[in-house]
Amino acid sequence: MLHERRRYAVLRRVLLGLGTLLFLVPFYLLVRGAFSTEADLTSATWHWLPPTWEWGNLRAVFDNPTVPMGRALLNSTLIAVSQTVGVLVLSGMAGYGLARIPYRWSNAVFWLITVTLLIPAAVTFVPSFVLVSTLGWISTLRGLIVPGLFQALATFLFRQFFLSFPKEIEEAAALDGLSWWGTFWRVVVPNSGGFAAAIGTITFIGSWNAFLWPLVIGRTPDSWTVQIALSTYLTAQTSQVSLLFAAALVAILPLLLMFLLLQRWIVQGVERTGISE
């Protein structure tokens, strides 16, 4: 029996090691490409390490006038930050109201919110485009930011979270004369940091990596996000592959750093979503 258990352990380690290799190699290829010369990347022989390290690619990415990378980084940052803050405030408040305020129609409202989860956001891009273009918001930051502020999933998760929040603390606050508003901002919010951080990081990642909506709405180069700028490089004829890798590294670095720093929150957030219960 002991023998058999050891065999499982060996097999497990081999599989995990193999998986680790497979999962990390693409990141390595990205870094390798970003610091290679164009000639080395397209040469007939494969090198695990670039024969000559090219440090100028990163600078060249920002000097390219046809793909304004600096502007794209600024746009992506503005969009991701404002959507994260907006979703936390809007969904946090709505989740609390749905969880705690015993309004007659709150079940109906909750149902109307939850049912939109079944409709994939991407399938509604044609109607949403129609609306945003009627509003005259094409190629504007407004058009890129505002429709993404209303995330039914975040509201749903906040509601579940607030349902499990200890009621006694809120009752004590109410006895002290705090209104719903005061209770929420002064008692509930300060005690929801971990969960809000989880929802916030997930929103930030989704917003930074979004592709279809920015592709549809951002029609002029100065309204491009990082992902669109990158895609433009990728589908253009004249692009240099090494520059493309450098641009991708620029696009992924802020997120990767944040991800490594906040990983605990993200994992906790996904685990606490309760989707898998």
Partner: protein
């Protein structure tokens, strides 16, 4: 209790103060567009988002008799048939492997979860330009070269359709980690006394998984399958970025969203047909999702 403390009359007001801003936005940006889209699907609307001429069900007939639209649904079926079971199996496998590992568990979890931070565009770039580039210098072709095989043009062949390997492997890399976390969370909730009881009965390895772990994972599996299906239906980013090049997008392997994108926002700007297509897809995905939850729930009851 809370309500009594604060008096009933304020409940209406406060509910809408908290929920109102979000709900108004949701109505404006989800319900209004969908309503408008259903309306628009009965009209001609070329190059404009305002309806011009009422055509009844003609747009729906256009879409349903359109070979390319039906092909896009077939593409989705093929794609889902590859991606759903493979992602499911691999994320479950990694979750079980990571859960049983005491040493370096956080490290392995991070490694598999890290690609979740990566966008489909970046992954498409690595896959298209580095791993599966048709050149000798591509990783896949370099590996083939080691065993003496000649290089394969992975993306420009339709027979055999190697591009599926490129598309599917990119998505696997990106999403396995996310579903692994869902399974890990479910695995951690399995009561340890069940495992102790199994150990006393002398159960080992596969038997433990089959009779103890798996039954506890059924609810998580239902959620994972549903999410996988909805996400497969939304596939756009990697198809668009891997397959389209300077010459445009090849006619094969257009999943529904790519097809819809080119119908509504391509050169034709056909918003009537595009809206009808969006309605058909919405109905399809809702029906599939409902059927799947019903089926799995029935299965789980046995």
């Amino acid at each position: 209790m809370l309500a009594r403390l604060r008096g009933r009359q304020d409940v209406n007001l406060w509910f809408w103060v908290f929920v109102g801003p979000f709900f108004a936005g949701l109505v404006l940006f989800i319900y209004v567009p969908i309503g408008w889209s259903i309306y628009l699907s009965f009209f001609e609307a070329y190059n404009t988002v305002t309806p011009t001429e009422f055509v009844g069900m003609a747009n729906y007939r256009d879409m349903l008799t359109d070979r390319a639209f039906r092909d896009s649904l077939l593409t989705f079926v093929v794609f889902a048939a590859f991606i759903v079971p493979t992602t499911f199996a691999l994320s479950l496998l990694t979750a079980v492997l990571v859960a049983r590992t005491r040493v370096m568990q956080a490290f392995f979890r991070s490694v598999f979860f890290l690609p979740v931070a990566c966008s489909y565009v970046v992954a498409a770039l690595i896959w298209k330009m580095s791993i599966f580039s048709g050149m000798r210098s591509g990783v896949a072709n370099a590996l083939l070269g080691l065993v003496g095989a000649s290089p394969i043009p992975w993306l420009s062949l339709t027979d055999p359709p190697w591009y599926w390997l490129v598309i599917v492997s990119a998505r696997l890399w990106l999403q396995v980690g996310f579903y692994m976390i869902l399974f890990l969370a479910a695995l951690q909730r399995v009561p340890t006394n069940l495992y102790e009881a199994a150990a006393i009965d002398g159960a080992e390895g596969w038997q433990v998984f089959r009779h103890i772990t798996w039954p506890q994972l059924v609810p998580a599996s239902t959620a994972v399958l549903l999410l996988l299906l909805i996400n497969a239906f939304q596939a756009f980013d990697e198809f668009y970025n891997i397959l389209s090049g300077f010459g445009g997008y090849p006619p094969y392997a257009r999943p529904p969203l790519v097809y819809l994108y080119y119908t509504a926002l391509g050169t034709g700007q056909n918003f009537g047909d595009g809206s009808a297509g969006a309605v058909i897809l919405t109905v399809l995905i809702a029906a599939l999702a409902l059927a799947q939850t019903r089926l799995l729930r029935l299965g789980g009851r046995d």
